[in-house]
């Protein structure tokens, strides 16, 4: 007879040590960007921004069937652009912190199926979010095919700080994600997957402190500054294809392509490629270059500064919603410790690192650096 979730949690706390142990991962991420088209100042100011994001992830094999995972993270954001929200610039930059946590339980069922359900919570000074998710997957044909279904839901509350930095109350936003994926072993050296995703959003989808500079008028010769206005619903569809192939014991090619389409007028194509080279080492060590190319058409609601009259129902100067192309190049390292280490490294299971340079054709440049350490206890 299946155990209930509370019973499993109690067992996890007081029972004998789990069969597979506890995996603990620590990730440290850093992101730095700069550009000159910030929507916070109507599309003409600095986009200087840094994020430092440490995350702890604990994955606990409670029993042969049950697994619990828990993550806790903080995003420390330093932004020069949001400091320009209010009329008087108070410092060179503004600090913001977002804290979040997620708890997920999964259970193997009838040998070849897995159920997963979880909840998430996040909070920052003007934004809070509650989320839930449910997932199901089934392995078929001697585990050569896996079919997975997923549903995620987020309910967010936004404090409405306007373009003058004044609080105008709050509003809400709902997001529903549905995904269907099929992963198939195509041969002894090849695996591929197809994923279809649907995202529906409703509620307040604008950013309350994003400005739009209207066309000049006699009363406003340099253009009136007004708040961004976007529709209160959005539907997104994506189809992703992944193909991984082992050319030899030392070379693996990863390829992916994604097509995206939404009802705000954006359509996009994204291609990513990574060629992994295994180094001659005692443990499993891979090094790989990262390449990514993205192109998208612009939203129907985007316009450059000074191009809107103000009579349009929806307006934004946010370049994230404009026609753009972006490129990312980088380098990654992945180490899986297959042999027992000694001393400080004795519990280390894995190490990963990525560094990537990102550039957009509107002049936005960014750098991201990530480190991930994994231990098994």
């Amino acid at each position: 007879m299946a155990k209930s979730v509370p019973a499993v949690l109690l067992l996890a706390l007081f029972a004998a040590p789990p069969a597979s142990g506890i995996d603990v991962d620590f990730l440290l991420n850093y992101y730095d960007q700069d550009g000159e088209n910030s929507p916070v100042t109507g599309g003409i100011g600095t986009e200087d921004l840094q994020v430092v994001a440490p995350v702890f992830v604990i994955d606990w094999a409670v029993s042969d069937d049950w697994n619990l995972s828990f993550d806790l993270g903080v995003d420390g954001i330093t932004s020069a652009s949001t400091d320009n929200m209010d009329t008087e610039v108070s410092s060179a930059s503004r600090q913001d912190t977002r804290a979040y946590t997620t708890v997920t339980a999964s259970r193997r069922w009838r040998e070849n199926q897995t159920w997963r359900f979880g909840a998430s919570l996040s909070n920052e000074y003007d934004y809070s979010s509650l989320g839930g998710n449910v997932g199901w997957s089934i392995d078929l044909d001697q585990r050569n095919t896996t079919l997975a279904l997923g549903l995620r839901f987020f309910s967010d509350t936004i404090d409405l700080y306007d373009i003058d930095g004044v609080n105008q109350g709050d509003d809400d936003r709902q997001t529903v994600d549905l995904s269907l994926s099929l992963t198939r072993v195509l041969g002894p050296r090849t695996v591929g997957s197809v994923e279809i995703g649907y995202t529906g959003q409703s509620g307040f989808l604008s950013t309350p402190f994003h400005e739009v500079i209207l066309a000049p008028t006699p009363d406003f010769p340099e253009g009136e500054h007004v708040t961004e206005r976007l529709p209160d619903s959005r539907t997104r569809m994506g189809v992703g294809l992944t193909l991984n192939h082992t050319f030899s014991k030392r070379i693996v090619q990863r390829l992916s392509y994604r097509y995206y389409d939404d009802d705000w007028g954006i359509a996009a194509h994204t291609v990513e490629a990574e060629t992994h080279f295994r180094l001659p080492a005692r443990n499993e060590v891979w090094i790989y270059p990262i390449l990514r190319f993205h192109t998208q058409s612009g939203s129907d609601y985007f316009g450059l500064p000074g191009t809107f009259t103000g009579d349009e129902p929806f307006i934004t100067a946010d370049r994230d919603l404009s026609e753009l192309t972006s490129e990312k190049i980088g380098l990654g390292l992945r180490v899986a410790f297959r042999h027992k280490q000694t001393g400080f490294l004795s519990k280390l299971r894995s190490f990963e690192s990525r560094i990537a340079s990102y550039s957009r054709d509107d002049g936005l440049d960014a750098l991201s650096v990530s480190l991930a350490f994994g231990w098994r206890f």
Binding site: D75, E124, D141, R152, D156, V191, L241, Y260, D320, G332
Partner: protein, 69 residues
């Protein structure tokens, strides 16, 4: 409708292959052959969600936080 036909064709192609026996799967067990992104890659995806309006519907972050700076 055309899009659905393409998806159906892809599903048909991927399920039409012969089974690979468990003892033939050694090369499929290495880290780079896993279909899921590694943990560092997920952070980059979350950043791309904000910098490109065309992200979403791909398993990346779609809600649950702002980051709208």
């Amino acid at each position: 409708m055309k899009r659905m036909r393409v998806v159906f064709l892809l599903v048909l192609l991927t399920t039409g292959c012969a089974s690979v026996e468990p003892w033939q799967k050694g090369d499929l067990a290495t880290g780079p052959m896993q279909v899921e992104d590694d943990s560092c890659h997920r952070f980059e995806r979350n950043i791309e969600v904000y910098r490109e309006g065309a992200v979403g519907a791909n398993g990346g972050k779609s809600g649950g936080g702002c980051g709208c700076t």
